[in-house]
Amino acid sequence: MSHCPPSACQSCPAHQAAEAAGFGIKEGDWDYLVALAGNPNTGKSTVFNALTGLRQHTGNWPGKTVSRAEGLFRQDGQRFKLVDLPGAYSLLGVSRDEGVTADFLEHGNADVALVVLDATVLERNLAFLLQVLNRMPRCVVALNLMDEARARGLSIDARGLSRDLGVPVVPIAARRGEGLKSLKEAVLEVASGRLECHPLQIAGEEEIAQRYHEEASRLAQKHVQAVGKDQRRWQDRLDYWLTHPATGFPLMALIMAGVLWLTIEGANVPSGMLAELLIDKLHPWLQQAFAALGSPAWLTGVVVDGAYLTLAWVVSVMLPPMAIFFPLFTLLEDFGYLPRVAFNLDPLFQRSGAHGKQALTMAMGYGCNAAGVIATRIIESPRERLIAILTNNFALCNGRWPTQILIASVFLGGLVAPAYAGLTATAAVFGVAGLGVLLTFISSWVLSRTLLKGEAAAFSLELPPFRPPNVLRTLYTSLIDRTLFVLWRAMVFAAPAGIVIWLIANVGIEGQSLAAWAVHGLDPVGTLVGLNGVILLAYVIAIPANEIVIPTVLMLTVQMTGHAVSGYAGSGVLFETGDAGVLLPLLHAGGWTTLTAVCLMLFSLCHNPCSTTLYTIYKETGSVKWTTWAAVMPTVLGFMLCGLLALGWRLTV
């Protein structure tokens, strides 16, 4: 198709709009359409963000489970619509992502293709560019990560490269905002036709892939020169230790434990301050204010004791650990550590009959399981992708970290001398997270031998160069993108849940509240597995979001025991383990023991995913059957584990 001369129809604006609409691009407030393409790990999304800022929109390609983002930028009064195509190693490739990219470059009617190259891996990146030039003559090349190339002592002749390629080549460092203005100017020049491209063409059909690579190799040798000292040698040494058979695993455990320890130690003080402010001070004040305004008791109950108090628990329990954990995790992610984790863990996944990239989707699950399930799109083989989806729940998501951290701090930290409380809590949470990894392997192994039989497919894993992250920017974006987003989601679910909790605790049948009916009904089952009726009811109420499990447990305990939470003036340190704290006396009043705490930590790891994740699983698999499996498998496992532990505990302790 691309070899036909364009007919009058094809160049007609109406046709273009219709064509673009087929890709879900709406005709609208832009003058030129720009397709952004490049290899994975080239900093393409950094370029996208740097160009479009906050004017962007994310979604899926029509009818495909492939993510996409689009945004707008301006240059000299012209408006450009930038469509971020999936990262691709080639246009000849057969993956879903590469299919979308190739299809859009060929039929998307973009005015310009903006191809991002990693200046430090130029040879491989050039092979992709040459393929794009064969399909899309109007190209601008963004030679990204020039700062890194310089640090490696490389000198790249962008002008010479541009001459040989026949399209503009603009050196940039998107992280630092270098060269973006020139890049936008070049895009406008090409889009408007003021600059004509004469792209280098690779002819022939036979062994075409080999010719692309040979030409790329020739160009890279001609235009890249080592001129200075390589200041990135430390990367090779670091990579050596991080992936070494002897040190890779210990370092991985150390890094994970370090992140957890910082989160646990760091969250304590701000959590206490928030609890004191929102629960000790503001809650009684709101009760009085409502009373002074003549609010009826039920209204005060629903709004202040229901919605507000649950929100207050969510904010004081969730916000501090998230505000520490997410930025730390994002720093590791941006630095490029996660592919090394996948590298180390692959033999275990391979023996489990699973895909090595499941390590990456598992890591994503530590942030959010719904995001982890979407991330399984990087796994091409359907069988292994399903395994990754079904087992993602064993990666503790951010909604469950605070549960783990809180219960471990309050109960298990309290079992030892105060000086060791933080370390003990860290060890306990680390143990549960480690158990999650173990369960991932075991369940993958069982699935790949029963429901999802088959051979482990081969795969290749790129270990991209480390990228020293821009710390401040990472902190900022991870706070905005992740922490506030997740907190907002928790709050949206918390307020209605608070109202439900207050209502079921205060609306009764035959002199007993609905909550009491439910709790007493669930108590025998709960006790059998080391938990209690309150916890089981909380897990039912908290299906929309794991974040609200602990607040719901606390609310229900308050309602069931009549234990006062306000008025502990000046003593409202949330994670305090002694009797001076708020939580321990409250939970003791609810009949909690160390066994309850340990079983809750286990059950928090092994139970049904939240409704958002289940819906995502349904959308990604299109199957009620697998969605049901995803919910039932961990829940049954959780009941079994907790039941066995409770049995053993009661027989021995």
Binding site: G93, E214, T243, G356, P464
Partner: protein, 87 residues
């Protein structure tokens, strides 16, 4: 057929010692089509020089320097990439 030529003819990327270099001769025919395509896309075409880097524990992935990038491959893949040694 002498022993020497058999060894050379059947030498695969998996046989190359760490830190040594080898030149790719061919990809065996028993690759799944998408697998072969991905390797080609990454630049594993005949004539390409590859350097063996580190290996993971438990016989897992090995890392290879390929066209300026570092790529991890499972042994079962490396065993099907025919190579010749580079001095």
């Amino acid at each position: 057929m002498s022993k020497d030529s058999t060894t050379t003819a059947s030498m695969t990327l998996a046989d190359v010692a760490p830190m040594k270099k080898a030149r790719i001769r061919a990809l065996q025919d028993d690759f799944a089509p998408y697998e072969r395509q991905r390797l080609i896309d990454l630049g594993a075409v005949p004539g390409t020089e590859v350097q063996v880097r580190g290996a993971a524990a438990f016989g897992g992935l090995r890392a290879y320097g390929l066209r300026g990038a570092i790529i991890g491959l499972r042994q079962q893949q490396a065993q099907r990439i025919l190579v010749e040694e580079v001095a």
